[in-house]
């Protein structure tokens, strides 16, 4: 408040102004090594200097364009060009100053009055951001001034947010609180919650101030309550074990404490006895007894007291927060569901290739994860050549398919073909392929994670409101998963290829006698499953890390997805992915501090689930299923 008054005063009297250069010179040390804790006077001095260039200097400083020349002159950098504070070009070398984020925030805050009325909308936006980040009482008149000049809905919302916090008139604050109705935005809650901040106090009489509630001793616990009294200076500290021990040590004489042999003090009971003996002998002062503790607790009151003195304001804030609590809860649930859906679609995408190679062809391909990894590296390699992210994605997706399709075909021809009758050995051989591919990836791309960057249109979030949002990449993965579900259904059910794949899977010899080439079909189907893994790899690489171990993260879960869902059914895989995704997020929600536990319990649940449905959620039944 004080500062604003000063500012207004100085702005009104430009004659007394000191120029910006002089201010900077005065505070040279703070300017060159700025700290948020010490820089406030400098900024204030600059802002109030009255120098018309002050705003420019502050803005340049915040942008890290304020620089110092070798001779100590402050200049403003604009690309390579230098100019002095008044805007005249200068020649020479200068080192830019690097104020940290905290300092920049303060500068931005100080710039608010200049920017709020700036014709440039970007500058006004910056001012709004600065206020939203560091709301301060002195912003209120500036906003109201700006609002008086021109109506601006976003500014008026900001004004109400500031009013409910900083307006001197409680009635105005209550009105501002109530004006928001059922709004559940984060900024509103961020403004309301501090009003309800409490401190816990212990008093001998009734507590003072805006009391939130009194707390019974039973809730605090006897120890906790007494500690509170002690820290409030209302009761003497109790004897701690350490202190008792120190007293014993201090009173050792001739290998004895109060007549008891030191060697026998190897239990706590013996030490307590020894201390009592010392008390009895008057060597140490008696410690507070249980009765004294009880008496002290009886006479004291414990309460939570609001920092905000005005009860009307706290009541209104509490009412408002309670009112939006259910909505917030619902939104959080929706957000969680969206997260779960997103995780499910990631698992589905990773597993859909397996749904073909494992679900339909019954080939256990432990190198499936490495195909995902190959897809991701393909995406990376494409980005090295095609710098445009959108274009590179357009190239990478089909290329990843081709690369992994080829790898799949090669694997089928060279290895799996010879093992169709030995499924468990396929597991071992493809595991060998898996470790080969991982090491090859390390040898080729190195062990460091490689960047795979989403284009801008995919790098943001789909924001439904403050609480419910999901990143665009996840939306894209969800869409991709749906797309592949459709593609899978189309290929398997509507195309000749699908028919032949299914025929070969059920009876390769007979299929051959029908003129279908099982070798070709197996190769194509395996290639297709692998190719989809490659595309999944690009998608996964966009939101996670691209390393040679990328595939390992998904392999166990992918197999579980297919098995839990029911082998041979794409809807089973879908159901499996959904089950795993929702389960994991649900458990994470129950225990937000330990993501690892969520994974553990999720897997345990799946294992138990399989006991009850050994053939998965959607199981083939009847004679046709065979045995």
């Amino acid at each position: 408040m004080m500062r604003f008054l000063l500012l207004a005063l100085v702005l009104a009297l430009p004659a007394h102004a000191q120029d910006a250069a002089a201010v900077l010179d005065t505070y040279r040390d703070q300017v060159e090594r700025p700290s948020r804790t010490t820089i406030a006077p400098v900024i204030e001095a600059l802002a109030t200097s009255g120098d018309p260039a002050a705003a420019t200097v502050l803005a340049a400083w915040a942008d890290r364009r304020l620089a110092v020349m070798d001779d100590g002159t402050f200049v403003i950098m604009d690309g390579d060009a230098l100019s002095d504070l008044a805007g005249q070009p200068v020649e020479g070398e200068a080192q830019p100053l690097r104020p940290n984020a905290g300092v920049r925030g303060l500068i931005a805050s100080a710039l608010v009055p200049f920017q709020l009325t700036d014709p440039d909308p970007a500058a006004r936006g910056a001012a709004r951001d600065a206020i939203a980040r560091n709301p301060a009482p002195e912003h209120l008149p500036a906003i109201r001034g700006a609002l008086a000049r021109a109506a601006d809905p976003s500014l008026s919302r900001l004004e109400r947010l500031l009013t409910l916090r900083f307006d001197p008139d409680p009635a105005a604050r209550v009105a501002a609180i109530e004006s928001f109705g059922a709004d559940q935005s984060m900024d509103l809650r961020a403004a309301l919650n501090p009003l309800l901040a409490t401190t816990r106090v212990a008093t001998l009489g009734p507590p003072e101030g805006n009391v939130a509630r009194e707390i019974p001793v039973s809730e605090l616990g006897r120890e906790g309550a007494y500690d509170l009294l002690v820290s409030a200076g209302l009761a003497p500290a109790r004897l701690t074990r350490d202190a008792a021990q120190a007293a014993l040590v201090a009173n050792i004489a001739d290998g004895q404490v109060a007549g008891i042999a030191v060697a026998s003090l190897n239990t706590q009971a013996a030490r307590d006895d020894a201390y009592s003996a010392l008390e009895a002998a008057g060597t140490v002062p008696p410690a507070a007894t249980e009765d004294e503790v009880d008496a002290a607790l009886d006479s004291a009151t414990f309460a939570d007291v609001y920092a905000e003195p005005n009860a009307d304001v706290t009541d209104a804030a509490r009412a408002a927060l309670n009112g939006i609590a259910t909505r917030v809860g619902a939104m959080q649930a929706a957000d969680l569901a969206l997260d779960a859906l997103s995780l499910a679609s990631i698992y589905f995408l990773a597993a859909i290739g397996l749904a073909i190679t494992f679900g339909v062809m019954r080939v256990i391909n432990m190198a499936h994860g490495e195909f995902i990894m190959m897809g991701a590296y393909t995406g990376y390699a494409v980005q090295q050549v095609v710098p445009d992210y959108t274009l590179s994605l357009v190239v990478a997706l089909p290329l990843a398919f081709l690369v992994t399709f080829a790898a799949g075909v090669a694997l089928e021809r060279l290895v799996i073909r010879h093992l169709y009758k030995r499924p468990l050995e396929t597991l071992l051989a493809t595991f060998g392929v898996s470790i080969m591919l991982q090491q090859l990836a390390k040898n080729i791309f190195g062990t460091q994670a490689r960047p795979l960057t989403a284009p801008d249109w995919l790098s943001g979030s789909l924001v439904i409101n403050d609480l419910v949002q999901v990143s665009m990449i996840r939306v894209a993965i969800f869409v991709l998963a749906l797309l592949f579900l459709g593609l899978y259904l189309f290929i398997m059910r509507r195309t000749r290829l699908g028919l032949e794949v299914r025929a070969v899977q059920q009876n390769p010899t007979m299929a051959a006698s029908m003129g279908i080439s099982p070798g070709r079909i197996n190769m194509l189907a395996f290639g297709l499953g692998s190719g989809i893994a490659g595309i999944a790899g690009v998608a996964i690489g966009l939101f996670a890390q691209v390393t040679s171990e990328l595939g390992q993260q998904y392999i166990v879960q992918s197999f579980m997805t297919v098995v839990v869902g029911g082998v041979g059914s794409i809807f089973g895989t879908l159901a499996g992915a959904a089950l795993i995704g929702f389960l994991q997020k649900g458990i994470e929600w129950l225990n937000p501090s330990n993501t690892l536990a969520a994974q553990t319990y999720m897997i345990l649940f799946i294992i138990i689930f399989i006991q009850f449905r050994p053939r998965g959620i959607i199981a083939l039944k009847g004679r046709a299923a065979g045995d």
């Binding site: 039944k621 009847g622 004679r623």
Partner: protein, 247 residues
């Protein structure tokens, strides 16, 4: 004649397809019975239910003396209770010798710990040799079962079945793939076995069934269509319509 096996009104369906429909069936302690019927009539499912492989949706299966329900028993318990089954395709353990196959089937305690402690006595060996002789494999005791011919595997399986000493034998198409001489041998064997135990034979070959000279049960769509002597059932109008056809 008190029944050894009594099947009471069992039904089972898969995916809406009624494989067995309120089927009742009984067989005495020493009886030979042929079960015939078109494919899909439920013959195999019937065997699956009796041996515990498939659980019926309703009905009950009572076996033995004192009679008890087989429905709450596992396949292994049913087998131990005295129900032996021969499959259509010979299923012997191809990796092991003929002797080991028979030894495994020999009546002896079946739980893991007993098996672990099991040491073959001379009596056991003698019994194995005897069984092998009975099924014509006396010279092949030390051969690996996988090297046997198709027919020899069939015989080995029958030998294993005998080793189990079952009270009820379920035999699925025993004559499939046998020469005439072999068929005759089989007929004799089955008839002889039926003197001391119940034998149910599922068969298509009418000639073979005729030679067995026993009661015949005709299954159709999961239920008994007709029962009686072969002449009786082949004269049955319904049987001719759905199964035998008009010459």
């Amino acid at each position: 004649m008190s029944a050894l096996l009594e099947v009471r009104g069992i039904s089972v369906s898969f995916d809406g397809f009624r494989a067995i429909n309120n089927l009742s069936f009984a067989i005495g302690a020493a009886e030979l019975r042929a079960v015939i019927g078109p494919n899909g009539a439920g013959k195999t499912t019937f065997m699956d239910i009796v041996t515990g492989k498939t659980r019926p949706d309703s009905g009950d299966v009572i076996f033995g003396d004192p009679p008890r329900s087989l429905l709450r028993m596992t396949e292994a318990q049913i087998a131990r209770a005295g129900v032996g089954r021969k499959f259509q395709r010979p299923t012997v353990f191809e990796d092991q010798t003929v002797g080991a196959n028979l030894m495994m089937a020999l009546r002896a305690p079946r739980n893991p710990f007993a098996v672990l402690r099991f040491r073959a006595t001379d009596g056991h060996h003698a019994r194995v040799v005897e069984l092998a002789a009975e099924v014509g494999l006396a010279d092949h005791l030390h051969r690996i079962a996988g090297e046997l011919s198709h027919g020899q595997k069939q015989w080995l399986e029958i030998g294993m079945l005998l080793a189990q000493e079952p009270r009820l034998l379920l035999v699925d198409e025993p004559a499939a793939g046998m020469t005439l001489a072999e068929r005759e041998h089989t007929t004799t064997l089955l008839t002889r076995l039926a003197q001391t135990r119940a034998v149910v034979v599922v068969e298509h070959d009418m000639e073979f069934v005729r030679r067995l000279d026993c009661r015949v049960t005709v299954l159709h769509e999961g239920a008994v269509l007709a029962e009686g002597s072969l002449d009786h059932v082949t004269a049955d109008r319904q049987v001719i319509d759905v199964y035998l056809g008009r010459g």
